[in-house]
Subunit: 324 residues, 2 copies
């Protein structure tokens, strides 16, 4: 049982990362208005959020700029158009996907960029490229984190090897990522133990990025807090791919550090989120996501089910059972 | 950390209680059609659910029969009209609220009733009456459980006294009830420890009834499973007061006993729940419930906010902060 003092007190080392534009952008092709992004930036400032992720820095050779909003590429110029020089305590982050980011050219020296943190996202089998990206970003002066995605269907021994490789790299934070929303809190406890073991050995921090397929994104995140995980991803109103993420409004309500304030989050959700939904963005817990989460599958079939407006849940369950 | 074997294996002693008609009835004045109730009964049979709660046995002197559906009173005759003699493994339950049930007259001998389990619901300050109801039901031949409601704002020492009194009573199961959806899994772990201590001393079982105000109803329920709690309340599609309850479809997906089957639950939700929503019943996680949960308040203000169709979440948060 966790110490009672940990629930009432707080760890100053905890960092909250707003991933609304990045994970949320996956459900509206990153078509956020400048007003929305500015309002989110201001809400994060007032809420005491530590990092704001602006989006991906996707390779413009691979992705057609006309088909996405600016947060798909989150160029330094775009960020500056929103936040100026960002002389605040809120740090800025972008995500760089292995294989989808021309990092050597598109990530510039930190001295020329408003970005503070590069978040490298990788699958297990791409770890060597991830390490190259980490070293590149570190050499350019950034803080660097690394998300190992889709670990719920990976071998524990492979994850351990990856953690050892990352431990020896200059990365600052290693993230537990429950891409399929398939993990239960008891599993998070064991995974956090494993990650923290390597983090301690190599002097790194551990983070968590959860998905809400089984309504456990918040529960898994606070489980991880109790297990020594310090970096916590959340999104406003859970906005994110499929069933969405850990809700910022739940997380800030839970955290006890007086620097956090849930009220600006509520104000933002009330004033900004209805228009995003009206524009057609769909996300959040629903039965089809529960099913892919339960079966530890990628949510792509559930996302397609949602897009088609299907409601034949039983038929869908049979379909995805047959894919197993 | 919990033993890994407990997550993959199962405890045969676990009992799943479907509370859809009873807690769900609170959001539609118990106006369920006979077809709905029969379909639910059949779904429970096929899903391997252990107990089905039909509703309250409310005092007809206190409540006007014309203003509620039959599950408000769940008379023996009504139950028989749905299930006949119920010669199945699915046991039937009704709830008897302290102060709202004329138990001496309205609860008949078990030999004359299709009911198996009487669920006594009480606040802490009503425990002596609850014990009288427990003794009455036990003398009439029933299994008996007792829900102590609203413990999240009770003194631990008072709860201990209540548990000792109930321990000495003939009750079979004592329920942890998170009426306000205010408790976090770490608190559930400590509360379960306390309840299990008394249960062990007096040879009782412990149950949990959770609410989803902070999206933790399922998480708290499976936390409790890991802590030795055996009786688990759930409702189809979370149907229940305010933010609703632990979802049956999540719970049966988690439990590993081969007698449980989530598929009939999905079929029922697909075929029966849309009509209930279309008829005007509103329930489920929403920001206003998060707020009352966060502040450990009764959800009545959030229910009223929902009824009025209000969306001014920030104003509502200020209103309920001032009530503290």
């Amino acid at each position: 049982m966790k110490e009672i003092s940990k629930l009432l007190d707080y760890r100053p080392g905890i960092k909250v990362v707003d991933a609304t534009l990045r994970d949320g952008g996956l459900v509206n092709d990153f078509r956020f208005s400048d007003d929305f992004v500015k309002a989110l930036y201001n809400a994060n400032l007032r809420a005491g959020v530590d990092y704001m992720e602006f989006g991906y820095r996707a390779d413009k050779e691979m992705f057609d700029e006309s088909k996405f909003g600016p947060c798909k590429f989150s160029s330094d110029d775009y960020l500056r158009s929103i936040v100026g020089e960002n002389n605040t305590d809120l740090k800025l982050a972008i995500m760089a996907d292995v294989g989808r980011c021309n990092y050597k050219e598109d990530i510039h020296d930190r001295s020329e960029s408003p970005v503070d943190l590069i978040r490298v996202a990788t699958y297990l089998h791409q770890i060597p490229t991830a390490v190259d990206m980490i070293e590149d970003a570190k050499a350019k002066g950034y803080e660097v984190s690394c998300n190992i995605m889709a670990i719920s269907n990976a071998q524990e021994s492979d994850v351990s090897v990856a953690l050892d490789i990352l431990g020896k790299s200059p990365v600052d934070v290693i993230y537990i990522v429950d891409s399929f929303g398939a993990l239960y809190p008891e599993q998070i406890a064991r995974i956090a133990n494993l990650y923290c073991e390597f983090a301690e050995k190599y002097d790194k921090k551990v983070g968590i990025h959860a998905h809400n397929n089984q309504q456990l994104a918040f529960a898994n995140t606070i489980e991880a807090v109790g297990d020594g995980v310090d970096w916590l991803d959340a999104t406003y109103a859970s906005m994110g791919r499929g069933a969405g993420n850990c809700a910022m409004e739940l997380l800030l309500g839970f955290l006890k550090n007086p620097k956090y304030n849930v009220y600006p989050v509520i104000q933002f959700i009330e004033s900004q989120m209805p228009a995003v939904r009206e524009a057609g963005a769909v996300w959040g817990y629903d039965f089809q996501y529960l099913m892919t989460g339960l079966l530890n599958q990628h949510p792509r079939t559930a996302i397609e089910f949602t897009k088609q407006g299907r409601k034949d849940y039983a038929e869908f369950y049979k379909e995805i059972l047959l894919q197993d």
